[in-house]
Symmetry: C2
Subunit: 158 residues, 2 copies
DNA sequence: CTCTTTGCAAAAGTTTTGCACGCTC
DNA sequence: GAGCGTGCAAAACTTTTGCAAAGAG
């Protein structure tokens, strides 16, 4: 995540909440902290489990409500993983694509690429659709899992 | 779709089941028929609902079991849609990308593109990951919904 | 002080599992 | 006929909702 720290992101997010008239509360901060500091995309259940390991407790309903709110504010998106697709992942500025490790679940963001734009144009011409959005995800092995030979511990279904 | 009819696909699928030692039964044929003849990706629940509208009945458990079997045989894949990602969609030969209409849910398949291969190479060099798979999906409006002005009837969450 | 947000518990919805019977091969 | 696959019903799990009380602004 380059020069921006997880903590900076969390602060920018609280700013966005306030701008939209949402209150910044303890449970919301905890959920945002867990999401922004995770190396992999988490399900609402996993976020809840992570909260149990911290000092502060949290109701599962608040996790769902906070995730819905963050989704609506476009601060997170749902990402597609092998075996399930409920991972919640922070949206970063600009268009990015996701690289998911099929062994450890780690997510890495890679910059968008102009080559895709040309392809989209081609698809529009070919099909007559109007393309508004695209999701490009890569599934593979991260550097560490590649070294280990991979596939020993495939992504939990999540 | 092009030159291959839905019926041909269904026949090819039953062939694959036999080759893998699975029996070809009424419920399985019905599920396969519903999946291959749908214009949009369906959830297991939607497949079950569709079966109720046909003459033959079907247990919801059989839908789940059949979908699992088809997924294992790589005859279908789960596709990611705005608002949810449980759509079941037939896998066609070769690598394709999906174009999902955000208004009516219709899915269209578009051919893979070599430009992506170069991009993958770039991503591997940049990140050190080994990329095994990629999912590229486009979200937009199909020809019909585009004409209607779109977004009147956004995809049910499914 | 107002009114949003919370945790809890119940409800609704989805997916999985066990089992006796039926059907494919 | 052997044994896989079925529907049913129960269980497990996930997500949503209603409400009184707590807490942010």
């Amino acid at each position: 995540m380059n020069s921006i720290s997880d903590r900076d992101i969390a602060e920018a997010w609280t700013q966005t909440l306030r701008e939209h008239g949402y209150r910044v509360t303890g449970p919301r901060k905890l959920v945002m902290e867990i999401i922004t500091s995770s190396a992999s995309a988490l399900t609402p259940q996993e976020i809840y489990q992570a909260s149990l390991e911290k000092d502060r407790s949290l109701g599962i309903a608040s996790v769902y409500r906070t995730v819905d709110m963050l989704t609506e504010l476009e601060l997170v998106e749902h990402i597609h993983q092998p075996g399930g697709c409920h991972g919640i992942w922070p949206v970063f500025k600009g268009h990015n694509h996701h690289l998911v490790c099929s062994d450890c679940g780690q997510v890495r963001v890679v910059p968008g690429e102009e080559g895709i734009e040309q392809y989209i144009q081609k698809v529009e011409d070919l099909t007559g659709y109007r393309v508004d959005e695209h999701w490009l995800q890569f599934i593979g092995l991260c550097t560490i899992c590649k070294r280990k030979g991979g596939q020993e511990n495939p992504l939990e279904t999540g």
